[in-house]
Amino acid sequence: MSSPSVSAAPAESLSSHHVVNDFSISVATVNGSGSQTANLVLLRAIFQMGVPISGKNMFPSNIAGLPTWYTIRVNHKGYIGRKRDVDFLVAMNAETAREDVMSLAPGRVVLYDAPLKLSELRDDLIFYSVPFDEIVRDVCPNAKLRRLVKNMIYDGVLSHLLSIDLGEMVKALSAQLGRKPKAMALNQTALEAGAKYAQEHFADIAHPYRIQRMNKTEGQILVDGNAAAAMGCMFAGCTVVAWYPITPSSSLPESLISYMRKYRMDQETGKATFAIVQAEDEIAALGMVMGASWAGARAMTSTSGPGVSLMSELAGLAYYAEVPAVVFDIQRVGPSTGLPTRTAQSDILSTAVHSHGDTKHVLLLPASMAECFDMAGDAFDLSERLQTIVYVMSDLDLGMNTWMSEPFTYPTKPLDRGKVLDEAKTRELGASWGRYKDEDGDGIPWRSVPDGPGPAYFTRGSGHNAMAQYSERAEDYVSNLDRLAKKYETAKGLVPQPIEDSVAGAKVGIIAYGSSHWAVEESRDQLRDTSALPTSYLRVRAYPFPDSVEDFVRRHDRVYVVEQNRDAQMLSLCRMDLDPALQTRLRSVLHYSGLPIDAGSITESIVAQEKS
């Protein structure tokens, strides 16, 4: 084995003191190299030690050979938004190593693959050189597997350098590979070899970053938003799923398939209580969802921006013909040939008014794993109650990254199947029933489902009167359009209401939604602690806006709308819907790099705007 290479940073660096449970690790690898297992083992081991973490994968739209970075943030206070700066770099990718090293702040740490000779690049960093190829040769006789096993060695090295209990690493590895004894044994050997190497070669050095046991993750789960949403759909009684593969949405229906196959087979007959179809495209996926919903099933699809674009025409029909449909939009930056593996909140405006004609839709805006789960249920209930299409606006950061969460709460609220004619209601309404008649004054008509007790009707777009008869009369069209608008007003009281955290005397308000929430919470602490700027916060959880959104703006001098798109899409919706007199109070904090928003960026933007 080659001799170890450790080059210490200058005395004024971080090496003189420890940073405990508050740093970020970035593992730079090549995609397709099997690093995901090693990264999840690292994440899980720290989580098992009771320290709050979050893991974010920045990966290419590619199967093998392009750079990928996995970032783990460790934070004792529980901040789980992205941290902008990297404290500890694991450089395994020759292609990006130089740039990655050059981007670090002084005093930071680099663990690298020995042949990369990175310590020559800078003298203000701490470098640990590890001859991965030599170590892996000893532990893995099968040359073909070495590329994969190599990753587990850096986990072993990290366990020593970061004081992560090796036993927790093994336990985390077992959670990943426990069912494959051969792979488990091989990887465990690699893990231990890495740890041994570090103990033998880096024992005398003071390592600046450390994990120390806490009790802040007890009882919590680790999950991604797409799995959470899939579980939500299963417990919401979803029966029909139609989908078309698209990043970053695919893992939602794929998770749903595995849950449904396990838990939704009739125990007596072995038959499925669901139908899942991979459609020929997103248009067909929504068509199937609408057909199924029209015929009385709880149906959903999941897609991303380009898919939503394709669904546009049918979405208009769903609005006008009043057909329920649940659509998950796991947002990413556009277009199809763009950056499908980068996150954004950039479909908000176009989805709110999706399709042709006068249309406006209900959007749900989950911010957490629990909301990905709960809002799946809300989406089905609202879609059937309101007889319209409902979009759940998740994003890549929520959907595909690993988050800590409280375990989900079992839904005890009965499924709301909405105003569907049963025998009693059919008798009560008799011949006066009209499919598009506002019987109850809330804009929501009574629906007759095929094969049910209600009368048949012919479903068509806008050319119908209240009795669902063909009509091209202007009065019929206007009356129907006005009723649809009334129904939308009704929706304001039914959607998940905003959550407000007001600080007495705060003149500045923040409005945010979805995955931006975590960075906003951290930024509010920064603004309070370092800029003496107390802020109130309203987290919007659905569109259309309930009145409380306008009230919030009215109560603050300046309101920053924080979002992850270039064109201030949520701010635009506020401008459309709120009292025009309030519009001068609205300001924007925008983040659109494709990386998840971070607290520092929000704080800097607000501080700068407050000064101006």
Partner: protein, 352 residues
């Protein structure tokens, strides 16, 4: 007021009823708004006849269509059935979804040659692949009627439009496509051939799987002139009937008496029988290769073969392959669709 009211048909003096005790009139729909003499209206009449004669329960039928003249027609039959006029070319997906929700229904879709062969060709292809139980009728007039006579993808090479333009692109043969892709019942007929179309529709009602029926249905307003290959005159002259189709439903006694060897008998999934009188060519409608050859040969002669072109009575349909519970998914009670708390607890434990 509505511009559309159900047509009132005076009951015949001695009211005849079908096996459900229903009169023919109960199978009617709203009054047609299509042009007088439109082939589509004749198809509507045959659908009504077929459903009446087969004793179809209209409450168990779902009607679907896309966009175009053809797609208006589901409003003109079976008023007691729910109908869904969807968007252009997307009826297959909407019908698929509805049948996923309730597999006990009978799906009846009406499309046009543009709705199927142009904007909807993608969904058409995948509907055929899945062999979804549906009767999929193309009311085929070779042109776009509702937008005033543009060529559709089934227009023949050399066919002349009303304004004199000659079509130069080869047509899509929807029957050949359907057969190739997996439809288990493929037929072609002519709206003017009452007897044949009725037999085909009745057989389609008895079949479980995709029944793709292309019906040449002349557009009297935009495509019924000299030089058109989809006019009444052309269709009458070039209809190459594949021998007489006789359908005997399972609830009727077989009283046909053919000379041995003169007919091909096909037993349908529901126990009905189909007797296909053999032509000189000794055509076998269960032989896919022979069916393809026939379509190519008749087309090359400028003719179109009509009758049941291909049938595979026992092919598994899409809904059966999904192996869902017997109760329609649409009507499953909550305890069947929401797993118990123990399941969530188990899932949460796995993620800890």
């Amino acid at each position: 007021m509505s511009t559309e009211t159900p047509s009132s048909v005076p009951a015949p003096a001695a009211s005849k009823t079908n096996r459900l005790g229903l009169e023919l009139a109960t199978y009617r729909g709203s009054k047609t708004t299509l042009c007088a003499g439109c082939g589509h209206n004749a198809i509507t009449e045959r659908i009504i006849d077929a459903c009446y004669q087969m004793g179809v329960d209209a409450k168990k039928v779902l009607k679907f269509s896309g966009i175009g003249c053809s797609s208006k027609s589901p409003a003109y039959f079976l008023n007691a059935s729910h109908g869904f006029n969807s968007v252009h070319g997307r009826m297959p997906s909407v019908a698929t979804g509805a049948m996923l929700a309730n597999k006990t229904m009978t799906a009846l879709g009406v499309s046009g040659d543009g709705d199927t062969g142009a904007i909807g060709v993608g969904q058409f292809v995948h509907l055929m692949r899945r062999n979804l139980p549906i009767i999929y009728i193309i009311e085929d007039n070779g042109c776009y009627g509702l937008t005033k006579g543009q060529f559709s993808p089934t227009a023949d090479v050399g066919s002349k439009a009303k304004k004199g333009v000659v079509n130069e692109l080869p047509p899509i043969d929807t029957c050949a496509m359907a057969m190739e892709l997996g439809a288990s019942f493929v037929a072609r007929s002519f709206s003017g051939d009452k007897k044949q179309l009725l037999s085909i529709l009745k057989a389609a009602i008895a079949h479980r799987g995709t029944c793709m029926i292309d019906v040449i249905s002349p557009c009297v307003t935009f495509n019924d002139h000299e030089g058109s290959t989809k006019s009444y005159a052309y269709a009458k002259d070039h209809d190459e009937e594949l021998g007489e189709v006789t359908f005997v439903p399972f609830f009727e006694d077989i009283s046909v008496d053919y000379e041995p060897g003169s007919t091909t008998e096909v037993t349908m999934h529901d126990g009905s029988h189909l007797f296909l009188k053999k032509t000189a060519e000794d055509y076998n409608p269960t032989d896919k290769l022979a069916a393809h050859r026939l379509l190519h040969e008749t087309a090359s002669r400028g003719e179109f073969a009509t009758g049941i072109i291909y049938i595979e009575p026992d092919k598994e349909d899409f809904l059966t392959s999904l192996n869902t519970v017997d109760i329609p998914l649409a009507f499953l009670p909550t305890d069947q669709v929401r797993p118990p708390k123990a399941v969530l607890d188990e899932l949460m434990d796995e993620l800890k």
